[in-house]
């Protein structure tokens, strides 16, 4: 072959680096060279720095705030308190969950670390000195850290709504009660359980933890008083929503607000909400006429911005003697902290928790969730999962294990016996979800075979015998999980945030020389959108991914979108990208037909060109078509080659997976070692296998953290006990095991390219896999349920309570 020979079709496909290509991440060049541009890298002329005086108490009346000494500190320009914000009606702000939240302490504080005053200074050093000089008179009040106690207590946490019997999500039955949200048929469920041959009942606690992105939250607000424009750079997972909220709160018209999310160092749900720091920075900038920066430190982040989980899940699951599940009942006591600031679609105060029937064909089910106020930080965000989906997956995967114990049955067999079969899709669950596609049995069998499941069980049985003979002090746990997620929120008919439908968008401009830029309503926080969305587009419009720029995060340039969380970017914005690409392709087809002097229907798309049907030697490449779009007058066709798509997904997508964790546990020290972790993910069509693998590794490592040690813990008077990395577990390479990844591929039937989303699957499936391994190690000795995190002392305590220490 000489240099002049035209590329083969395979070469042309490869040249696009489209769907299925493990294209290297284009973002990494700047990140690995320290050339990223994060919020704290934004430095504007004359910029000031603001930071908070925070409450040392979990519950106290604030009798006085004295700012005189602080204002004497060199460099301190202003100290804002609730009194200063009140005339602007900004001392409280609405939350995403229909509640309201204090921006600055208004008469009392409700959690340790709560924002009390905002000190504005010339730099962060002066601000810190100013904070130290603010004097606050606190009067301590009784503290409630237990949601069950809170529902019984006379202590009123939220005096502002003490008399309201109706909340944003229905009736409130106690002054510390937020809502009761229910789904399913409780009477039928109770009947199924009462008449069942076997019932397993258990309280499953998913402890409070925190998304803890390495980059903490922060912003730079800059009010230009001359042209009336407000620019806010911030760590926002949903920049357009922030713009709308900022407009509604401040009264500044939305066209005069520009919100920019620059590079974001991880979000994991922590950067979805609106925080007092954003509001105070904006107010301070309006007051001073100068840009104001606010950046959390690590302790602020862990103490005050959104936590995750904290669900007490009381379950009952019933089955026939031979293991066919007949019903599932779940009541959740949900600790929401001091304000209900969950980031869920408006109509779902418990998120999509009612995906808790999991991968199983359960005929009847009921879920009730009681939201409760306590003296803890507000939040309740989806930490690397779709809304409350990790809680749901953990719940059902624990209940399956408990049922297996009750039945005396192998847990793998019990799962297989109850999986929704491939021929049942689309499948409507007892709690109302329509699962789009799946093939659970195939995935499960592949997983069991890959780890030699039967061999592992034999080894485990031998180990138990050896342990009983005193030959070893280590037990072997085999943690099983088959999870089903629900991601890609969501259809506008039932999913909105503050009234904004949860569609997403893509706008494409193809340049005359055949390269392109696409802008989306989402924002990458490490997911690699600039890499993968270009691949979707490359396959759709035949322009190499390397010739496509992806841009997100600037509300002045990007089309409106609801942002990135809940694995929604690929299911929603990815779909919008494909649909916008198809509009480009449709126009390109007309142009190609004109150039080739044939009818539109006589040309067809082929990789990177349109060819005349039956005469592939007659073609126009996309580059030629793009050029023609800008320099030829084509009858009936507007110049240019651009398209916009706003995509309202017809349904969620339902990724699934089979995970197996093999763990060694030293019963004397509680130390564990993960010997093997196998993760099979089915995320539908795979856009970039390398990026998927990276997502899976990251999600599994966060799952490891949560299951094995990470927690937000408070003592009985509401002191935060885990506010630094000394105590808040973030695994290093040392603690992280080697993962084996695998896949099956069951495309979503309703998504334009069949993709389902994957970023959160490994956290959703990983947590129960690690936790089940711990439980399974002790199953032979009678363990049914032990709450996470499974750190060393708690694992030791399991062994101790089972009498294994002699």
């Amino acid at each position: 072959m000489n240099d002049q020979s035209p590329p083969t079709r395979e070469q042309r496909v490869a040249g696009l680096k489209g769907l299925g290509c493990s294209r290297k991440r284009v973002e990494d060049a700047r990140f690995t060279q320290g050339k990223g541009n994060y919020v704290d890298d934004v430095k504007l002329p004359g910029m000031l720095f603001g930071d908070f005086v925070r409450s040392p108490y979990a519950h106290a009346r604030v009798n006085a705030i004295r700012t005189e000494e602080a204002l004497k500190v060199p460099g301190v320009l202003a100290v804002l308190t609730a009194k200063d914000l009140e005339p602007l009606s900004l001392h409280w702000m609405p939350t995403l969950a229909g509640d309201k939240q204090m921006v600055l302490a208004d008469g009392k504080v409700l959690f340790q670390g709560q924002e009390v005053a905002f000190v504005v200074a010339t730099d962060r050093y002066a601000a810190a000195d100013g904070i130290a000089a603010v004097e606050v008179d606190y009067e301590e009040l009784p503290v409630l850290t237990d949601p069950f106690e809170a529902l019984q207590s006379d202590v009123v946490l939220r005096e502002d709504i003490a008399d309201q019997t109706e909340g944003a999500h229905g009736a409130r039955r106690h002054h510390n009660h937020i809502f009761l949200w229910e789904e399913g048929d409780e009477a039928a469920t109770n009947q199924a359980i009462e008449s069942a041959e076997v019932v397993a009942e258990e309280m499953v606690y998913y402890h409070r933890t925190h998304p803890c992105p390495l980059e903490t939250c922060g912003c730079v607000a800059s009010m230009d008083k001359v042209n009336g424009k407000l620019t806010v750079y911030g760590t926002f997972q949903a920049p357009h929503v922030v713009r709308t909220v900022a407009s509604l709160l401040s009264g500044i018209e939305e066209h005069n607000i520009r919100v920019i999310s620059p590079d974001i160092g991880g979000g994991f749900g922590n950067k979805v909400g609106v925080y007092p720091g954003y509001v105070c920075s904006i107010v301070a900038s309006i007051v001073t006429g100068k840009p104001v920066k606010w950046i959390e430190n690590r302790m602020d982040n862990l103490m005050a911005t959104a936590f995750a989980r904290d669900y007490w899940m009381k379950g009952k699951i019933s089955a026939t003697r031979d293991g066919k599940i007949t019903g599932l009942h779940c009541h959740v006591t949900a600790d929401h902290g001091a304000f209900d600031a969950c980031a869920d679609p408006t109509k779902f105060p418990a998120g999509f928790f009612h995906i808790c029937t999991g991968s199983y064909d359960i005929p009847v089910a009921y879920v009730g969730v009681d939201g409760v106020y306590t003296n803890k930080a507000p939040g309740g965000v989806a930490y690397r999962c779709s809304f409350r989906v990790t809680e749901a997956a953990y719940f059902i995967e624990r209940m399956i294990e408990v049922l297996a114990i009750e039945l005396g049955m192998d847990a793998a067999e019990l799962r297989a016996k109850n999986f929704i079969r491939a021929d049942q899709f689309p499948y409507t669950s007892a709690l109302g979800w329509e699962y789009d596609s799946g093939d659970y049995h195939t995935a499960w069998d592949k997983a069991l075979k890959a780890v030699d499941y039967e061999g592992l069980r034999r080894e485990q049985a031998e180990r138990v015998e050896a342990f009983k003979r005193g030959e070893t002090r280590k037990l072997l746990g085999i943690g099983l999980t088959h999870f089903t997620e629900i991601v890609g929120a969501g259809p506008v008919k039932n999913c909105d945030i503050l009234g904004m439908g949860m569609f997403d968008s893509c706008e494409i401009r193809v340049h005359p020389t055949g390269s392109a830029i696409a802008r989306l309503g989402t924002i990458s926080q490490g997911q690699g959108h600039a890499t993968t969305f270009a691949q979707i587009l490359a396959s759709e419009i035949g322009i190499p991914a390397d010739s496509i720029t992806i841009e997100e995060g600037d509300t002045d340039t990007a089309p409106y979108g609801l942002g990135t969380y809940g694995s929604r970017s690929t299911p929603v914005a990815g779909a919008a990208t494909a649909m916008a690409g198809r509009k480009i392709r449709a126009k390109a087809q007309m142009i190609a037909a004109y150039l080739l002097e044939v009818h539109d229907d006589d040309v067809e798309f082929d990789v990177d060109r349109f060819v005349v049907k039956g005469a592939p030697e007659r073609f126009k490449t996309m580059a030629e078509i793009a050029y023609a779009a800008y320099n030829q007058a084509i009858p009936g066709v507007e110049p240019g080659l651009e398209a916009v798509s706003y995509y309202d997904p017809p349904n969620m997508t339902y990724p699934f997976g089979a995970y197996i964790c093999v763990m060694e546990i030293d019963v004397d020290t509680g130390v564990h070692e993960i010997r093997q972790f196998y993760a099979l993910d089915d995320c539908g069509t795979r856009i970039n296998p390398m990026v998927i693998e990276g997502q899976v590794h990251g999600g599994l490592t966060e799952a490891l953290a949560i299951a094995m040690g990470q927690e937000i813990a408070y003592d009985e008077i509401g002191n935060h006990k885990t506010a630094t990395f000394m105590d808040f577990f973030i695994p290093t390479a040392w603690e992280t095991p080697t993962y084996t990844t695998d896949h099956t591929e069951t495309p979503s039937p309703h998504h334009p390219i069949g993709a389902k989303g994957v970023g959160e699957s490994p956290n959703v499936g990983g947590v129960p896999a690690f936790s089940n391994a711990v439980h399974d190690a002790f199953r032979a000795f009678g363990l049914r349920q032990a709450h996470m995190p499974h750190d060393q002392w708690r694992v030791w305590k399991i062994a101790h309570d089972l009498g294994l220490h002699g």
Binding site: Y125, D129, D668, G670, A713, D727, T732, W793, W796
Partner: protein
Amino acid sequence: MIPAAFDYHRPADVASAIALLQEHGDGARALAGGHSLIPMMKLRMASVDHLVDLQDIDELKGIAITGGKVSIGAMTTQNELITNDVLAQAAPILREAALQIADPQVRYVGTIGGNVANGDPGNDMPGLMQCLNATFTLVGPDGSRDVAARDFYEAAYMTEREDEELLTRITFVAPTGGYAYEKQKRKIGDYATAACAVQLSKQGGECATAAIAMTNLSDVPVFSEAAGAALVGTACDAGAVKAAVAAALEEIDPMEDNRGPVDFKRHVAGVIISRAIERAWSRA
């Protein structure tokens, strides 16, 4: 996480450093690697008006081994302890222990002098130095004095060192026989849940000498003479190890923290002590 303003001093010799400490009294603190002091300043839990940085003082650096005696300057970093092959020959337990301290970044900056002088019960070197029966040299306005590591610690962060003194040097006789530093921690970078240093020697199949000290199991490092004595004259068989562990556990007083409750810590301490003895014996 921003400290209050302070004056920064960087003397080039011990005498100047002591003069600064004398001049500024309570408001002055010596800075070694800074891994304990700087976070405390950032949290504004330590108020320091004058920070006396010791890093330019050459006489506080270096490892010398002569005539079976090891002498380590206080400003020697943990990384230097790890990478010094002569020291690893003379007292391999130091490398084994230093490798279990924090992480490489910390060890490049953290010093042995800071580690032993701070009096933090979580630090690994104090227990190890008690195990080795090391001597700390303290230099102050009135000259130099030596204090045994086993007599140095009074309570958490309270030591024999006077405010105007610097801990300049650590010396000990190169040990012989088997050794082990066993440590349980939650993760890389953590302090010990329980840790134990053992150095023992063997003669004719019996334990001739044994020194056992523990980390983070009381508000001071714990050297247990009785535990060592329980091993001497035995073949370190199961019964002897059990007796040594029992003796050691008599002398600890762990506190509940996020690592776990007291009964857990006592149990783990027993496991760690016995593993340390067994490993040291296997090397003797």
